[in-house]
């Protein structure tokens, strides 16, 4: 299908043809005067793909996601290279048109006034021209998927951290865009909601959307993603299927810690474990910097 991203304001575009490149970074680098946050990143996200971005703290995961989202660069940073969305530089879209193409779940954030949960999720419809039926349907579905439908009348400032995270997710889902960018959506969530978020992301991808998710839990990446990008020190250390990218060698080197990868006992996926020490061996004394 041909997407005319800027012109389409009718909504309901689940995504492109599976396999069609949707979001690409070409030679993307981001510098501050003191450091190189991203270094020559080139990757393509296709419709139908769930790309998990993993890596140690400070590897540049959120910087990469922000660049893919077309966020204004932070002050005193310099960006080179290009990010394209549906074949056009992401910076060339008007804000409204961009918001109908990609939704972003940032790492945290509580509204600054006590809006109700329903008000917040309805704001996810802001990029679209008002359409009562479509808006109600999108909001209702998003509330249900994020499992916050029972909270609609609550003030979002009164919720727990995990509930707030799910409300933000519902807002992003209500935006109903072909591209979803989620920055650590599971950071505050319990086991069941973590699984729910990743399965939701995977279903979105299976339905033809392109989904990029930053996660810390390597097993979430291993069990749900179609593609994994391993970032280390701002560079793309590995990019490929979970089996290709999440190997013992790559992870041990990336995280500077021994890592073992084993087969899942029930499913045809891999599991990632910190290797620790052989049985019976005492812990080494803690080094001052560790």
């Amino acid at each position: 299908m041909t997407v005319d991203p800027a012109g389409d304001t009718t909504g309901g575009t689940p995504g492109g043809t599976p396999g069609e490149p949707v979001l690409t970074a070409a030679g993307l680098s981001v510098h501050t005067p003191a450091a190189r946050l991203l270094d020559d990143i080139t990757l393509t996200v296709r419709a139908g793909e769930l790309l998990a971005i993993v890596g140690p703290n400070g590897a540049g995961k959120s910087t990469l996601l922000a660049a893919l989202a077309g966020d204004r660069p932070a002050p005193r940073t310099r960006t080179t290279g290009e990010v394209s969305l549906f074949g056009r530089p992401v910076g060339s879209y008007r804000p409204g048109a961009l918001a109908r193409l990609r939704a972003v779940l940032p790492q945290s954030g509580t509204p600054r006034f006590p809006f109700t949960v329903e008000d917040v999720v309805r704001l996810g419809r802001a990029p679209w021209p008002p359409d009562r039926d479509r808006d109600d349907a999108a909001v209702g579905t998003a509330l249900a998927i994020a499992d916050v439908a029972h909270l609609t009348a609550r003030r979002c400032t009164d919720l727990s951290g995990g509930e707030q995270a799910r409300v933000s997710l519902a807002r992003v889902l209500a935006q109903d865009t072909p591209v979803l960018l989620l920055d650590e959506p599971t950071a505050a969530l319990d086991l069941r909601h973590t699984e729910n978020v990743l399965m939701t992301a995977r279903r979105m991808a299976d339905a033809g959307r392109a989904v990029v998710v930053v996660v810390h839990d390597l097993n979430l990446a291993a069990t749900h993603a179609t593609t994994v990008a391993v970032l280390a020190g701002g560079r793309l250390r590995a990019l490929g299927s979970p089996a290709e990218a999440l190997t013992s060698t790559i992870l041990t080197e990336t995280y500077d810690h021994p890592v073992t990868v084993i087969d899942h006992p029930l499913r045809p996926v891999r599991l990632v474990l910190p290797a620790g020490l052989p049985a019976g061996q005492p812990l080494p004394p803690q080094s001052p910097g560790a």
């Binding site: 002050p75 209702g140 400032t157 889902l173 279903r203 339905a207």
Partner: protein, 397 residues
């Protein structure tokens, strides 16, 4: 399970081995299928449709509020040295609007008092209060800070400096228009300076904007001090009374001068309702939802400056309306700006009219400065509001 629904936890079905992982079927564990979380494919699943709760209620609340404000206006117009029955107020008003007196007997004297003295004063009070209340709501929404007041972007200070300078330097330059014009321009100029000082690399950080506002306010304050230093006794009196606020000087001409910027500002402000709702999510989030954040900042600051400068030009500084009115509304009607902006304008309008009524009746035949009344009543009320809000929301988050 002690908290079965609160966390949305699944109730275990008898016979389902939820806890025995080893016997669960491969691929998709049964616990996942059994749960009622809908599939998310293309958002095609019809979820439960939320009711659009509160929209009708908000509209009727605004209507009720309007009626209350109108009643306060009639009461104020009826009260004074010459008592006029409230019905006569309505009759006189209708008569001047070409509707006849609606069968009410209005004496010529009453008509003159209402039309020439009271009505311009009440209408100016309504307009000024609406402008201040609305400006406060915009600024609090823009900054995400429930303590923000239009004074914070320098507009009141600039207006005061403009007025003081005009009183001392060239009181006769434009006749009776000198001080209002100088105040209006001073307010706009100060806000422009604040905005430009806070702007860097094509963006304005709101916190920088507020801090620049404090700095410009201090400079403006110093300019007022300088004017006081060089003023003679009469000028000193004028400056002091200007800074205490009064709508005693209201005339139809003054109203005609304030109305265009005030009304235009109020109408334009309503268009900020959705952008301010989005900004409450955070600037990044608002941008992700398609809001041109910088443009919104610019429009909001310009509107605050326009509304406040228009409001204070003829009346001087009236404290606390812009701070308290939005608070009061948020407490009752919630934070949605589609409700908050018009309701804050109405509450501000009603408050100024009632405060002015008090100002000119509690010390007859003298008039207490309006700003004294609003601050005297507004201060304690604000403290109560703060405590209630903080208790209700468990902090400022």
């Amino acid at each position: 399970m002690t908290r079965p629904r609160a966390e949305g936890a699944p109730a275990p079905t008898p016979g389902d081995p939820a806890g025995t992982d080893g016997s669960a079927p491969p691929a998709v564990p049964s616990i996942v299928r059994r749960r009622s979380l809908p599939s998310a494919g293309g958002l095609t699943v019809d979820g439960p449709r939320p009711r659009r709760s509160g929209r009708g209620r908000a509209a009727s609340a605004l209507v009720l509020l309007s009626i209350a404000v109108a009643a306060a206006a009639v009461l104020s117009a009826a009260t004074g040295a010459v008592g006029v029955p409230p019905l006569s107020v309505i009759g006189a008003l209708a008569d001047h609007l070409g509707l006849g007196t609606l069968g009410v007997d209005v004496s010529a004297r009453h008509d003159a008092v209402i039309w020439n003295i009271r009505l311009p004063r009440v209408l100016l009070g309504l307009l000024v209060g609406a402008c201040l209340g609305c400006a406060g709501a915009i600024l609090q929404g823009l900054s995400g800070n429930p303590l923000a007041d239009p004074a914070l972007v320098g507009v009141s200070g600039g207006a005061a400096a403009g007025a003081a300078a005009a009183i001392v330097a060239a009181p006769a330059l434009l006749g009776q228009w000198t001080v209002p014009t100088a105040a209006f321009l001073g307010g706009l100029l100060a806000t422009s300076v604040v905005y430009l000082a806070a702007r860097r690399d094509g963006r304005t950080e709101i916190i920088t904007l507020m801090l620049a506002g404090v700095a410009v306010g201090a400079v403006a304050n110093a300019l007022v001090g300088l004017a006081i230093f060089t003023a003679n006794d009469q000028e000193l009196r004028d400056i002091t009374f200007w800074s205490l606020g009064s709508i005693g000087g209201a005339t139809w001409t003054a109203l005609a001068a304030v109305a265009p910027p005030g009304l235009v500002g109020l109408v334009l402000a309503l268009r900020l309702a959705r952008p301010l709702d989005l900004l409450a999510l955070g600037e990044r989030e608002a941008a992700h939802l398609g809001l041109p954040v910088e443009r919104t900042h610019r429009q909001a600051v310009a509107l605050v400056a326009l509304l406040t400068a228009a409001a204070v030009a003829f009346t001087g500084i009236i404290w606390f309306i812009g701070l308290v009115a939005p608070h009061l509304v948020r407490l009752v009607g919630g934070p949605r700006h589609a409700m908050l902006l018009p309701a804050s304008a109405l509450v501000g309008a009603g408050t100024v009219v009632l405060a002015d009524l008090a100002a000119r009746t509690i010390a007859v035949p003298a008039e207490v400065p309006l700003g004294v009344v609003t601050a005297l009543v507004g201060g304690p009320v604000f403290v109560l509001l703060l405590r209630r809000t903080r208790n209700a929301h468990g902090g400022w988050a």
